[in-house]
Symmetry: C2
């Protein structure tokens, strides 16, 4: 049976990367692993690993992406939760069979080859959940 | 220097514990470690550990608590992030020195003796951050 193995990351939408880093990196002392442009998500993302999990600070780079619209509507703050599974296809099949609404009906493939898919917040008590497989 | 050592838990506000468990426990297969009434927080909390971290599903048991007001205003969803530190007093002193706004000026002591304090979302890019020391 497919299982959830890890809390991979928490994504936080930010509207001012430098000001965010002044809190998470400088004030809390969490090490910044790097900042990358993620064109597929129309975002700039800062990665701050914490003991096998990670905070991701996501700043939209245009006004049209999902994350930009979220920021405009709700303001900066917690955005989504990413859970790692050992079997994304099996997990998604199981969710569909239970009537869970998925944003991605099929796994998407990231630039680095990893597979992921999002569950719709409507089926997850208002939480945007990303499922992810190495 | 005080350091952040772990992502202790993610708290999710829920308005229907059974329906939430049907997703997190039954559909995703995350083991439920237990459900406890937490009178100090006027909440019922379900604990679902994931590899050294934890999801906490929090359902208010009255209408007046902070979490109840959050639920009424924003609806169910991600509520706060709890980070573990090895030195809460030192961490709080450092945050105050940087002008970071804290909800708790002094550490609070939980029923089990652990120390915690909340940072105000205004100083954390819209994220409610709990700091916690074993």
């Amino acid at each position: 049976m497919p299982t959830i193995q890890k809390l991979n990351h928490i994504a936080i939408v930010v509207d001012d990367m430098e000001r965010s880093l002044a809190f998470w990196r400088d004030a809390l002392g969490i090490e910044l692993h790097g900042i990358r442009d993620v064109p597929a998500e129309k975002s700039q993302v800062a990665f701050l690993p914490i003991a096998g999990s990670e905070l991701e600070l996501v700043q939209p780079t245009d006004d049209e992406s999902g994350v930009a619209k979220y920021l405009a509507k709700r303001g900066p703050g917690l955005h989504h939760l990413c859970l790692e599974t050992d079997d994304l296809d099996g997990m998604m099949a199981g969710l569909k069979a239970r009537g869970v609404r998925l944003i991605n009906e099929e796994p998407r493939i990231a630039a680095d080859g990893k597979k992921y898919a999002f569950v719709h917040p409507e089926s997850a008590g208002g939480v945007l959940v990303e499922l992810y497989q190495f």
